[in-house]
Symmetry: C2
Subunit: 338 residues, 2 copies
């Protein structure tokens, strides 16, 4: 435990109005807490930075999670290494996945830890193509979206954490996949690295509905939406009969006072289409199914994920702002240790 | 064929802007057309007046139907009696269901007719609890809505053609059913005749969302929507986890230039809920399933339908306006003959 005597933490100090700013957080240090019976002391390796965290910061919390109390460690999930264990199922050196919080050396009851199978991938794989964003994309595309071979798929925020995986699942399932992203760099990644069939840079378009029509000339069977608002409204105009709209995220709407009013929902009736939201946590009993599928596709090289890694826990407070401004190029991750 | 030498018709003469007005139609008479081989001459008994007809009158038509050409007989479905048949499967005196058009004595190819089983109900039953509105409610509640016993159901336009049946299906399936309607007369019908568990008069409420909260104090598992717009937006605020929203109709939106912007669709994500539209015509191969179920419930007295019957084909041009202004008390029907 040399060098691990101090736990570096980042506490939530204020509630956001709009995009979260670094001044809402405060760093401190406390002594590492020795594990009690059935507890484990961990070294945080990577923290995942996700849009859902915005809800956890608000007074009301999100639908399924109470808000993070002011003055407490910011909630966040990631990958850690076991340093010291008083739980028989965890041994020093093991990798685990957990709600670690924004801290370098959490001490956590063993029942909150999920073991990481390193034969399937290393720590970076488990934050990326085997991580919770990827599991979210898996259930969104397959269970909620009922993706079928040969369909026309559109993914928004397609260069983001969930979007990259959703788009690749579409390709793996033999679909024609179009992706929406902001700026030439992300679009180039989607076109040249992920090999999507069509790419739309929303920042370069005045008429989003017309642009989606060009990117999806035969319409959309499955729209995987990470954005909401105007993008969703425009996509609804291009649904094919029997289409499914997967409401995975709504990053355009989480920081606004007045939500966008969707005018094209009537298309669901005209096209006999369905629109469905979900929370990945409800699929917890089936995570292993998703991981087995994702690991197999990762192993054979069909599935990967570009990460945007910020080096050091001190970057975490500014990371959420980057995410909501779309400044990350790839799934956003903070590297804490290891 | 005494007295049947003349076919009274109503032709479409103009395209509507807003709620259809009687001046868009013109009455004429033509000689009855003798049936050719495999054709049948019919006497129209009842015509059903439905919101979907508004779409058929427009330049663009509706999603699944081309527009009625100007100068042609207005499209409309109903129940008729066979007067003269050159098709072996139809005999004089038989009842049939068909797209008769707004005319007293259509001559129609036999392949477009559906036989009416009078052991299940008379002509009025076949326009009401066994008719296409009822079949629509059946598939909406059961297939699209996945209604389950004990659930909390909300139906809008619950005194209307489809709404009455949807609400009763909810009751038959052992659900707690709340209904929305406009004005004390319709609400009294829902409360005292259909015995709904809660009734909301939207015309008497300033805050629709709060009123739905009072009518559905434990939230909504299944919202059967015939209205769209503001009512749908308000209902979305009260969804329970796993809720289904059935988009059956959007009568509030079909005559407006600028559709209402839905602000609460994000609730689908928060509540892991789905919203789905449908067109009953897609269920054509399964109509018999619906009719068998509806006929059994009709026979044992669990299912009925209040009709609002206008006497005479000359009322048809004004009937659509009544429908969209909510002036009908019950499913709107024009009695033509019989």
């Amino acid at each position: 435990m040399a060098g691990a005597a101090t736990n570096h933490r980042i506490l939530l100090r204020g509630r956001p109005a709009g995009i979260p700013t670094p001044d809402l957080f405060e760093a401190d240090t406390v002594p590492v807490q020795a594990p009690g019976p059935d507890e484990v002391l961990l070294e945080t390796l990577y923290l995942s930075i996700d849009p859902a965290m915005r809800g956890w910061m608000s007074e009301g919390g999100s639908s399924y999670h109470r808000p993070v109390p002011l003055g407490e460690v910011m909630r966040g999930g990631g990958i850690a290494r076991v340093l010291e264990s008083r739980a028989p199922e965890h041994n020093p050196g093991d990798l685990v996945q957990a709600r670690l919080g924004w801290q370098s050396h959490p001490t956590i009851p063993a029942r909150f830890l999920q073991k990481v199978d390193t034969t399937r991938g290393d720590a970076l794989a488990w934050i990326g193509p085997l991580g919770l964003s990827a599991v979210t994309a898996y259930f969104g595309m397959r269970d909620i979206g009922s993706v079928r071979p040969g369909e026309r798929v559109l993914v928004s925020a397609a260069a983001g954490g969930v979007g990259q995986i959703a788009a690749q699942i579409g390709r793996i399932e033999a679909c024609r996949v179009a992706g929406i992203a902001g700026g030439p760099e992300k679009c180039s990644f989607l076109r040249n690295d992920l090999r999507l069939d069509a790419v739309l840079d929303y920042k370069a378009e005045n008429d989003l509905a017309a642009a989606i029509g060009r990117a999806c000339p035969d319409g959309i069977d499955l729209y995987f939406d990470n954005v909401g608002g105007e993008t969703l409204d425009a996509a609804l105009l291009h649904l094919r009969p029997g289409a499914r709209v997967v409401l995975c995220g709504r990053i355009s709407q989480v920081n606004v006072q007045k939500p966008y009013g969707l005018r094209n929902v009537g298309q669901l009736g005209a096209k006999q289409a369905r629109m469905q939201g979900f929370q990945v946590f409800a699929y917890n009993p089936r995570y292993e199914e998703a991981r087995a599928w994702l690991a197999a596709r990762h192993a054979d090289g069909q599935l990967r994920q570009r990460l945007h890694i910020l080096e050091g826990l001190h970057h975490a407070p500014a990371a959420l702002g980057m995410l909501f401004r779309g400044e990350n190029t790839g799934k956003l991750v903070v590297r804490v240790g290891g």
